[in-house]
């Protein structure tokens, strides 16, 4: 058979396999201020995102409970990691850039100030080759934004 495991690594980089299997933030925080669910009816993936705010309104902590593929779980985990400490509007801006990355594989117009978190999220850029899988990567972000806006359910894309 042609093609080895190396063929798979460009999409499923180690960081995705690692965070997909052992998410650091894959739990409901002991205390949280907002939460919202996201649902992908096509595949039955489901995620619930929890947010605890700091006194100044920043995201102190994000956590999630997910049932889904490696990409959605890894994306939720990297999201929780990269939004911690950010203001809600900065999390929204980061999502806009990340969505561009997931859909197109690149984000040349993205704000240089977001270079660090985007580099952390970059392993997920490979999903742009699979339009049906882009939603796996963006679903937890939709749930996060819904939670920040006080909604209980993420609206579908």
């Amino acid at each position: 058979m042609s093609g080895g495991l190396d063929d798979l690594r460009d999409l499923y980089q180690d960081v995705i396999l690692d965070h997909g299997r052992r998410p650091r933030h894959g739990k409901r925080p002991a205390a949280f201020d907002a939460s919202a669910k996201g649902d992908n009816p096509m595949c039955g993936d489901r995620v619930e995102v929890f947010v605890r705010h700091a006194p100044d309104g920043r995201i102190a902590e994000a956590g999630f409970e997910a049932r889904g593929c490696a990409i959605s779980v890894a994306s939720a985990d990297l999201m929780a990691e990269t939004v911690a400490g950010r203001r809600p509007e900065d999390a929204r801006a980061l999502f806009a850039s990340f969505r561009e990355l997931a859909r197109t594989g690149a984000c040349p117009a993205c704000d240089p100030a977001l270079a660090d978190p985007l580099e952390r999220l970059a392993p997920l850029a490979g999903v742009h080759e699979y339009p049906s899988r882009v939603k796996c990567a963006t679903l937890p972000w939709h749930a996060l934004i819904a939670a920040l806006e006080g909604a209980k359910e993420a609206s579908s894309e």
Partner: protein, 414 residues
């Protein structure tokens, strides 16, 4: 049916040469297409029939008085004869063309369900139905107070016949609507037995043959069916055309489904009268080109012959079950005695979507998800599976490629 061939073997290389798409490469690798249960590939004969019609012989049907319309009508109506012969239907007027099996089921739920069944009666489905054989009956239940009963299946994925029969004992069941072959488990249901039990309790019986007719000869009279539905695109034909067969006396009793042109006898503002069956159920310009393509697909399948097709499917299924069950960490859904060329599975530690994406990297096309059968997934405690399904062009070597690739996927996620 006259499908007997001297040797029930199929010349796989010749067949593969009939399907132009099989020469395509995916990601630089030969296409290994194991998603035929979702929609099958098309042989050149089907492609050519539709192209030739468009290039040389096309007009609207059933109404033109000109040469082109007459010829096109003949070609389109030949599809009705071919479909009737394929199913051994006693009367060509019992073949109603619809868009697909889903539309056929909705037609029956609408016209038979609302026109013939009465509130207080019940419809029985099974626990391994496609959503298309669940939702139309739910709509009927909610609108008309017709009860929906679900016959359970065993852990092996077979219909629980005792429980099924018990559901009919109160005599309230007007219709049994059950798959002839599960699109998830590959289970063939014992259609003759189901029909006998249904009839013994005064119920009519419908089989969803979307998967079954692809692999096995269907004789609606021998089965004792009252309704039988299937779709062209899974039988190597085009999308957009499917078949509802029903016994004529039932079609006569059923009110129309859609109203419009083609389905009327006369129209005035006070009152319209309906065309005779099957046209009563065929409102609007039909899928003319698709009908012509369907005829070519039926001819193609019958030329190969069901004995050879069924033998090929059985050999592939046996090979697939042996090879896949040997993959460590892989679990196959269902273990029916009588099962066909559809194998659903889950891989330890790997989500079905990840499995499908990784297989795609090897050029292998499988389906992953709930396969439009969410209640069945939940029956097995799952949200999704990967599914490999076979067609007449599927080879043993392709199944070997699948099994070898799955071993690598498993290693990848280990």
């Amino acid at each position: 049916m006259n499908d007997a061939t001297p040797t029930a073997r199929l010349d796989i290389e010749r067949i593969r040469a009939d399907f132009p798409i099989l020469r395509e490469k995916v990601r630089g690798k030969p296409l290994v297409f194991l998603d035929s249960a979702a929609s099958a590939q098309k042989p050149r004969a089907v492609i050519a029939a539709m192209t030739t019609a468009m290039e040389t012989q096309y007009a609207n049907v059933h109404r033109g008085l000109h040469w082109m319309s007459e010829r096109t009508t003949e070609a389109y109506e030949a599809a009705r004869d071919a479909a009737a012969a394929l199913m051994n239907a006693p009367d060509r007027h019992e073949i109603v063309f619809v868009r697909n099996s889903t539309e056929a089921l909705n037609l029956v739920a609408h016209s038979y369900g609302r026109g013939v069944l009465r509130p207080g009666q019940a419809v029985v489905i099974s626990a391994m139905e496609h959503h298309s054989n669940i939702v139309p009956w739910q709509l009927l239940r909610d609108e008309r107070g017709i009860e929906l009963r679900v016959a359970p299946i065993t852990d092996a994925g077979e219909l629980d016949m005792a429980a099924f029969e018990a559901l009919l004992e109160d005599g309230k069941v007007g219709l049994v609507s059950i798959t002839h072959m599960s699109n998830v488990l590959g289970t063939y249901t014992p259609a003759e037995r189901i029909a006998r039990i249904a009839h013994a309790h005064g119920a009519k019986v419908l089989f969803d043959g979307s998967q079954a007719i692809v692999h096995r000869a269907v004789d609606v009279q021998a089965l004792g069916a009252d309704f039988y539905v299937w779709t062209g695109h899974k039988l190597y034909g085009p999308t957009g055309i499917g078949v509802l067969w029903a016994r004529r006396e039932l079609l006569e009793r059923m009110p129309p489904f859609l109203g419009g042109g083609e389905m009327i006898s006369s129209v005035s503002y006070e009152r319209s009268t309906w065309a005779a069956v099957p046209h009563k159920f065929e409102a609007g310009t039909p899928a003319i080109l698709e009908g012509i393509g369907l005829k070519a697909a039926i001819d193609y399948v019958r030329a190969i012959g069901y004995p050879a097709i069924a033998a090929h499917e059985a050999a592939l299924t046996e090979h697939a079950l042996a090879r896949l069950s040997a993959v460590e960490g892989l679990r196959i859904l269902g273990a029916a005695q009588d099962r066909g060329g559809v194998v659903s599975f889950v891989v330890d530690r790997a989500h079905a979507h990840d499995v499908a994406t990784l297989l795609d990297r090897f050029g292998i096309a499988v389906r992953a998800g709930h396969h439009c059968a969410e209640p069945l997934m939940h029956r097995f405690g799952l949200e999704s599976t990967a599914r490999a399904s076979f067609g007449i062009y599927t080879t043993h070597a392709e199944i070997d490629t699948l099994a070898d690739s799955l071993a690598r996927v498993r290693e990848f996620f280990a």
